[in-house]
Symmetry: D2
Subunit: 342 residues, 4 copies
Amino acid sequence: MTVRAAVAGASGYAGGEVLRLLLGHPDVEIGALTGHSNAGQRLGTLQPHLFPLADRELAATSAEALAGHDVVFLALPHGQSAAVAEQLGPDVLVVDMGADFRLKDAADWTKFYGSEHAGTWPYGLPELPGARATLEGSKRIAVPGCYPTAVSLALFPAYAAGLVESEAVIVAASGTSGAGKAPKPHLLGSEVMGAMSPYGVGGVHRHTPEMIQNLSQAAGEPVTVSFTPTLAPMPRGILATCSARAKPGVDAATARAAYEKAFADEPFVRLLPEGQWPSTAAVHGSNAAQIQLAYDGTAGRLVVISAIDNLTKGTAGGALQSMNIALGLDETTGLSTIGVAP
Amino acid sequence: MTVRAAVAGASGYAGGEVLRLLLGHPDVEIGALTGHSNAGQRLGTLQPHLFPLADRELAATSAEALAGHDVVFLALPHGQSAAVAEQLGPDVLVVDMGADFRLKDAADWTKFYGSEHAGTWPYGLPELPGARATLEGSKRIAVPGCYPTAVSLALFPAYAAGLVESEAVIVAASGTSGAGKAPKPHLLGSEVMGAMSPYGVGGVHRHTPEMIQNLSQAAGEPVTVSFTPTLAPMPRGILATCSARAKPGVDAATARAAYEKAFADEPFVRLLPEGQWPSTAAVHGSNAAQIQLAYDGTAGRLVVISAIDNLTKGTAGGALQSMNIALGLDETTGLSTIGVAP
Amino acid sequence: MTVRAAVAGASGYAGGEVLRLLLGHPDVEIGALTGHSNAGQRLGTLQPHLFPLADRELAATSAEALAGHDVVFLALPHGQSAAVAEQLGPDVLVVDMGADFRLKDAADWTKFYGSEHAGTWPYGLPELPGARATLEGSKRIAVPGCYPTAVSLALFPAYAAGLVESEAVIVAASGTSGAGKAPKPHLLGSEVMGAMSPYGVGGVHRHTPEMIQNLSQAAGEPVTVSFTPTLAPMPRGILATCSARAKPGVDAATARAAYEKAFADEPFVRLLPEGQWPSTAAVHGSNAAQIQLAYDGTAGRLVVISAIDNLTKGTAGGALQSMNIALGLDETTGLSTIGVAP
Amino acid sequence: MTVRAAVAGASGYAGGEVLRLLLGHPDVEIGALTGHSNAGQRLGTLQPHLFPLADRELAATSAEALAGHDVVFLALPHGQSAAVAEQLGPDVLVVDMGADFRLKDAADWTKFYGSEHAGTWPYGLPELPGARATLEGSKRIAVPGCYPTAVSLALFPAYAAGLVESEAVIVAASGTSGAGKAPKPHLLGSEVMGAMSPYGVGGVHRHTPEMIQNLSQAAGEPVTVSFTPTLAPMPRGILATCSARAKPGVDAATARAAYEKAFADEPFVRLLPEGQWPSTAAVHGSNAAQIQLAYDGTAGRLVVISAIDNLTKGTAGGALQSMNIALGLDETTGLSTIGVAP
């Protein structure tokens, strides 16, 4: 079978990454590419790394341009996906890489995004308990945020196995592509090279409720999250350092056993051998996640660290992985676990 | 008055930074420069940025070579300072940038460094309560580690003011110069560019007991520390993200007031205006520390973030600052709060 | 058909890149992996980005270990390939990624490498006139150096078409992986980040005679090359800026026409649309080369600029491309023209 | 004597660097700071590295705001300096860091900048033969462009000594701060990290006629320049690789002798010892220039390479150096030859 896929928002980083991966997907034929301010331009100048699509022209994002496809990927600014999705009809698989349909709690949405909640779609993080069942055959997929992907993979096994207390402390470093392609002074190369700096400190980052939602579901009880994102001087990658107080009786062995069990059959998650630690460089351009953990007996905390590529596993790769499940394809089709390093 | 200063270990990063700063100190005359494997070489090839010293030749590190100076800076591998210091006599100001004399607890030293404890010298972090008094007139100074400097500045006011519970969680990112100049495969540019990765996870990093020592002293009770260092793709800088559970009654206002009080008269610490966050780029090459804090009401934690240059305020700049105090000079002589940015 | 491939020198950058690409080649089965100092170690710690091969153990490089394969890739230090190749027999396809068999002139070899010349093998730059014919069915392939690949692609059309005089001036910037994985102080991340610096200036770089050989062959007369390599603060990529005095009558149009003709049917070379310039970021991890040219009427020179990934098109990708030709496979099998960007 | 200095355009990179250096100048008192779109904002948020000026507020750029100072530094967009300078009166020292008054040939100005030529001021590159005499006591200074500074220092001795033919080929790599602080997509950190790319190829870069002017003056005859600038993944620094065909009889010794003579008494130019090559890292934040040369006998060319900090010696440092001369101060006052490295 050949799936015709369209991409709305093809000029941005998420859209470009989806196209990079779709070009390597044996069952996908790339259809319409749309943009907003870039409509009418050729992709070769906007995404010069996508050589095979260099001569493709961007159409203006509209229901007409996106019609007639089996799958439509939405890489649009937050709040714009609902209107487009409605017009695409119930039989088209719509994969939203924006935030619109990730949260279950409408109040959370309004608190963090300020607008009215559009709804909740099946959540595209297949590794979460029960997630695959909700994705199979679905026509709507909400792709997780990049930080929630990294953090949920690191901590859900600990909460699912009851290894830790309900207060998680998370500090994550992200490459600059996570901030998007819109030019802003603080994202200039001159500003970010040589610079580590935090932002959205104090629980105000929009990915926080999404992490709480995932971890609380795994724990079966409310989990609190102290999340601090930092901007790192690299184009891609997220390194998430997560910890929580270990429950009585938990030690290094029990913790490791729980993680080995959780990821035993996961094609894209690698629990590293003891002594080896995750690095964003090792997953550059791949859909893999590297995980490692340590039990700090003195501090009484379990520390779990994950590394992913924010654009691949954290966005477009996760989107294709969920698409594969929804369409009944092999989950790994067109996705690689091999990083581009050094 | 003119102070004659010698530097043992002048070919490394700490030694080079001390020389960079000493060259700008109006009261210091640079005397002997010594090295180990580099003895006999000219500094111009080892430290090409130190133009005025390019033709100076390194002597072999020995008591003879270091004799006849008012101040001797030791930038030697851990465990080698004691033997040298003994031979320098009690009247010479010895500033040790190694770890040998930082810890008060001999058991901690042996646990983390494996050798016998050499002793404890006055601790060169002047901003800590009571520290200046112990440094004035002292002939021996133990310069703090770079991570403990960043972390102690971020958290001591919270503990001194009783704002937070006794469990601190710290994740810090450091530039690669913190790992030194000895060539190791994982420190190659090809490996570190584009890479964020942790190391010394689980409470095993040697700077952990030093943080515990400083924070427990400020708190007046034992503090536990969960510390995770990460290597960031930049040559210099430390960004420390520190948090602890806020005590009942603490809020953003009380916390900020405590920090404003703690740093009101500090020449090198800048509590940033609300809404502005620290960046390592802003303190590049300077002796300044940037601090900002946030109270996360949902998570119930106080988050404090500090940025320093690991080689300047974190090592050589802190060393000169303490030297100034010990010698009765103005504490800020020869030190700048101006970063080299972008 | 399935080809069994072995890689000698699997722990280095060239070896790792060959493995990254072989993992995506549908007709190749990866056999023996050998190393020298790393023999006995698992690949997972040496090449953590090669997830599927993490548990493979390196054997010591020997004829026995490499026996029984259809193709053997040699990623060995210069001068070590000949001895190994001899023992592999005439029926095995040996692809040497070292320099040993690139040069035709034994005197050049001895002048630049200091040892005795081992011989000359078919040269693995298929885009050069006549190259494919020499590669088809060959059992020995000398993979070009990374700089000669970038420079020859940029200038051979100009010389083949007689557009320029015989003196070429070339300045190229390379990512640090081109310097290999052996830890040296000047390659530390602390040293290379923020640094542009030249090396091998004045015609002494070992890739110079290889460029002269390729360009002289294209010109049908001796070409002189002034080549200056520089080290750039990035892990991968080569940007080669090449120029030569234009011959009378040459202008922008005639030059562009010659380049369009030269690359019209090349699957991996993209002559960019006018106004767009090559970037190493656009070919990161891909086997593509980007080319653009300008005729500078005031200076009377033709300026041609090429961008490649030094490890892919510049080494391992070029090796697979030539292997495909030698084995009668489609030249593009297992090779991508899609870069990993941003 | 204390000089009151104002800076117009204090929010940009050139303006920020002038302020960084003025803060260290013992004879200067910093007066008015002006901006355009940033008027009314505090400098602490615009230039967070300038700690001592954090609370200073930007005024709108106007003759009134800039009145009453001894020196006014103009860091304005090209073409805006003349109007401001006119209103400042003849007794104020006006140091223009823009391009407006650099060129002598009005036709060149119009060709490369498109507007009418405003005039020609004494040229602020003191190292050029005769330059200091024109700067002493002058009330107007045109600060050279960053590329012309690096290139002129590298090649003027060769042309002044008649070592080379009249065709110079130059390829230079610049840090991203040279492109300014205005946010543009291609200058985003995500785009520039990992990327080397050229721009302004084919003699169209606006700094080309300035190089030709300087080198032709040194040669006493017309010099042609093929100049290709490239953008490098670093915030600061220029590495210029310059070459020209050596005249008969010239060899390594004669060339080196000419350069030793040319720079013997220059406080900011360091001709490196043979075998050592310039690096932008070594001059980071300093007013020094590193120079090295090689005679390529095979290619018959003299290759000269220079490294400077584009913002310091290339802009603001050069501006202060010329200001010192104009005011009769020691030329080196407030300027350092010490780089911030690693």
